[in-house]
C-alpha cells in the first residue's frame, strides 16, 4: 500500500518533469512564477535538479550504501569534465565516448584512492580528510598545469546544434539528457541496492567486522564502491562541461561543490535509492529561487563602497539595512542549505525521506 503510493507520487513527478519543457513558456506557468523567472530559467533549474540529483545518487553508492564519507567528490566530477573536454578539443573525440573515457579515468583514480585509504584503515573523518586533501591537490594542479588551461580553464569550441558533439543552443536537449542521467542513476543504484554487492556494502557500513566474519572481503568491496561512485560522478562532469561549454578548476573542483553533492544525499536520505533525488528536488529549487529573488544584490550598493563612504553613520546604517534587505552580499542560498543541514542532523538524522515514511506509517496507525 505505502509502496504503491510512493511509486504513484514518483510517477506523477516524473511525468511533470517530462512534460515541463512543453509548458514552461505557457502563460499559466509564467503567471505563477516569481518575478524574474523565465521559462528558460525554469528549465535551467530543472537541469540543476536532475544533475545534482544524479551526482548525489552517484555519491550515495560510496557514501550512503557503503558509509564511507567522501568529501572530495568534486575531484571525480572534474576528472569527467576535463577528460572528455580535452579529448574533444585536441582529438575531436565525441563527448559520448569522451564521457566513458572520463568515467574510466575516474574509476581508476577512485580505485587507487580507495586502495591507499582502505589499505591503511582510514575510516570516517580520516577518509573524509584524505578525499578533501586529494580534491584540493587536484584543484591546485589544475590551476597550474598548462594542458588544463590553468586558471582560465577550457572553452569548448562551439559548433552548431549537433547530437554527435553534444552541443545545442536550446536548453531542452540538455534538460532531457540530465533527466536521463538522473533516471540512469536511480536505476543503477536500485540495481546495485538489490544485488549481493549492495547488501555487502550496507553490511560493511553497519559493521565491518561482522561483515568480514560472514565472508565479505570488506576492502575489495569498498574499493569497488569507490570506483563505481567515481565513474558515475565523472559522467555528470562531462554533461556539465557540455552544458556550460566552459570549465574552470574553481568551479568544478571546489570544496563547496563536494559539499553540495553530499548535502542533497544526506538531507534527502543517504543509503536509500531515492533519498539523494528527493534531496535535490527539495533543495535545488529553494536555493535557486533564493538566488533569483535576491540577485538584485549585485546591482545594489557595494559593501566596500558603503563602508568607506563619508556619509553620516545613521544614513550609512539605513543604507546598510537596505543592502541586507536586497540580499546583502549574497550567500543566502548556501546559508539556507547549511541551516537545513543542521536542522536535519538534529531532528531527522536519517534524512527527509525516512522521516516522511515514518510520518506516513504513524498517520496510518493513529
Amino acid at each position: 500500500m505505502g509502496r504503491s503510493v510512493g511509486f504513484a507520487i514518483y510517477g506523477v513527478i516524473g511525468l511533470i518533469c517530462i512534460g515541463l519543457p512543453f509548458f514552461a513558456e505557457s502563460d499559466v506557468v509564467v503567471a505563477v512564477m516569481p518575478p524574474g523567472l523565465s521559462g528558460s530559467t525554469l528549465l535551467h533549474i530543472g537541469i540543476l535538479i536532475f544533475l545534482f540529483g544524479y551526482l548525489a545518487t552517484s555519491w550515495n553508492v560510496l557514501g550512503g550504501f557503503c558509509g564511507q564519507l567522501s568529501l572530495g567528490h568534486a575531484a571525480f566530477f572534474a576528472i569527467g569534465a576535463y577528460t572528455s573536454s580535452l579529448l574533444y578539443i585536441h582529438f575531436g573525440l565525441t563527448p559520448w565516448v569522451g564521457m566513458l573515457a572520463g568515467a574510466a579515468v575516474a574509476a581508476v583514480v577512485g580505485y587507487g584512492l580507495g586502495y591507499v585509504s582502505f589499505k591503511y584503515g582510514l575510516k570516517g573523518p580520516f577518509f573524509a580528510l584524505v578525499t578533501i586533501a586529494f580534491a584540493e591537490i587536484l584543484r591546485l594542479l589544475m590551476l597550474y598545469w598548462d594542458f588544463t588551461g590553468g586558471p582560465l580553464g577550457l572553452l569548448i569550441p562551439l559548433t552548431e546544434d549537433s547530437w554527435s558533439d553534444m552541443q545545442f543552443m536550446a536548453k531542452e536537449p540538455y534538460y532531457y539528457m540530465a533527466f536521463g542521467l538522473m533516471i540512469f542513476g536511480i536505476l543503477a543504484t536500485a540495481k546495485i541496492g538489490s544485488s549481493r554487492f549492495g547488501y555487502y556494502l550496507r553490511a560493511i557500513r553497519e559493521s565491518e567486522e561482522a561483515a568480514e566474519a560472514l565472508g565479505i572481503h570488506s576492502m575489495r568491496n569498498k574499493m569497488h564502491a569507490a570506483a563505481i561512485s567515481a565513474a558515475m560522478t565523472a559522467l555528470g562532469g562531462t554533461f556539465y562541461a557540455q552544458y556550460t561549454q566552459y570549465i574552470v578548476p574553481d568551479d568544478v573542483v571546489k570544496i563547496a561543490l563536494s559539499i553540495e553533492i553530499i548535502l542533497f544525499a544526506v538531507i534527502g536520505g543517504s543509503g536509500l535509492v531515492m533519498g539523494p533525488v528527493v534531496g535535490a528536488f527539495i533543495l535545488v529549487p529553494i536555493g535557486e529561487m533564493t538566488r533569483v529573488i535576491f540577485s538584485t544584490a549585485a546591482t545594489g550598493v557595494s559593501f566596500v563602497a558603503l563602508v568607506n563612504s563619508d556619509i553620516p553613520a545613521v544614513e550609512k546604517f539605513a543604507k546598510y539595512l537596505d543592502y541586507l534587505a536586497s540580499g546583502g552580499g549574497g550567500g543566502l542560498a548556501l546559508l539556507l542549505y547549511g541551516a537545513i543541514l543542521i536542522f536535519v542532523c538534529l531532528v531527522m538524522p536519517r534524512g527527509v525521506l525516512p522521516a516522511l515514511k515514518s510520518l506516513q506509517s504513524w498517520g496510518k496507525k493513529s
Partner: protein, 248 residues
C-alpha cells in the same frame, strides 16, 4: 583427513606487557560441540579472535581442515567454512532481520532470491521467522543473539565459533537457544562455544577446555572438568568449600 576439524597449537597473544593468551592449544573434533570456558578476563575472546583471523597470533599455528590459516583474513576463513559470532553482538541495525541473515547467505550464492530462501530456512530453524521484517536494531538482547547465530549459520559453515551467545538471556530464552544449538549440531555443524553459563557447557558439550589467565588449565568431558580442583578454584575463589569466614 584427520578427525580434527580445527587444531591450534601453542598460540599466544601479548598486548604490551599483558599476556592475554599464553601458548594455548586446542583441537576440535568434527561434529562435536566443544566448550571454551574460563572466568572473566581469562583470554577467551582473544583466543577466538586469533582462531577466526581477527587478530594475528604472536606464536603458534592454526590449522582448519588441515590447512594453515595463520594470517588469512576473516572473510577468506569464512569462505573456507569457519565463521564466528561476537560477544558484543554486531547486528546490521538498519537492516531487517531477514536482510541480516541474507548477508550471511550470500556467502554461498550470488542470487538474491536464493539468499532469501536460505535465510528463511535458517530463520525457521532458529525459530525466528516471524521476526523477519523487523529491523535488527529494534530487537531485544535475546533476539539479537538469535540473529547473530542465524547470520553465522546462513554462511553454511562447517565450524561455528560462538562467543557467549547465552549471556544476558532469561532462563526461558536460554533454554530455547540451547535447543537451537542442538539443532545446529544435528545439521552436522561443528561448534566451538565460549560461555559463562556453565549449565550449557554441562548439558551440551562433548569436550571442554578451560582457560585461566590466558593459560589452558584443564580439558576433558564436562564431568571431568567440573570435578577439577583447579577449575573450581578459578571460578569460585581459592578457598571455596571451606566454611566462609563472614564479615563479623
Amino acid at each position: 583427513m584427520s578427525d580434527f576439524i580445527l587444531e591450534a597449537t601453542n598460540i599466544s597473544k601479548r598486548f604490551g606487557g599483558l599476556v592475554a593468551v599464553k601458548e594455548a592449544s586446542i583441537s576440535v573434533k568434527r561434529g562435536d560441540i566443544v566448550g571454551l570456558i574460563g572466568p572473566n578476563g581469562a583470554g577467551k575472546t582473544t583466543f577466538f579472535n586469533m582462531l577466526s583471523g581477527f587478530m594475528p597470533a604472536d606464536t603458534g599455528e592454526i590449522f582448519f581442515k588441515g590447512k594453515k590459516i595463520n594470517g588469512m583474513r576473516p572473510s577468506n576463513i569464512c569462505k573456507l567454512g569457519m565463521t564466528r559470532t561476537f560477544q558484543i553482538v554486531k547486528p546490521f541495525p538498519e537492516l531487517t532481520v531477514l536482510e541480516n541473515v541474507m548477508i550471511g547467505a550470500f556467502n554461498t550464492t550470488s542470487s538474491t532470491t536464493d539468499a532469501k530462501k536460505i535465510a528463511m530456512e535458517v530463520l525457521n530453524l532458529v525459530g525466528y521467522a516471524s521476526y523477519a521484517d523487523m529491523s535488527a536494531g529494534s530487537l531485544t538482547v535475546a533476539g539479537r543473539k538469535r540473529v547473530e547465530v542465524a547470520k553465522a549459520l546462513a554462511t553454511k559453515p562447517e565450524l561455528m565459533l560462538l562467543d557467549e551467545v547465552l549471556a544476558g538471556l532469561t532462563p526461558t530464552e536460554m533454554w530455547s537457544m540451547i535447543d537451537v544449538l542442538g539443532k545446529v549440531r544435528d545439521q552436522g555443524v561443528t561448534v566451538l562455544i565460549v560461555e559463562h553459563v556453565m549449565a550449557v557447557i554441562m548439558n551440551l558439550c562433548d569436550q571442554v577446555f578451560v582457560l585461566n589467565y590466558g593459560e589452558k588449565i584443564a580439558e576433558g568431558t564436562p564431568a571431568e572438568v567440573s570435578e577439577n580442583p583447579k577449575v573450581l578454584e578459578a571460578y569460585l575463589g581459592d578457598d571455596y568449600g571451606k566454611p566462609a569466614s563472614g564479615a563479623n
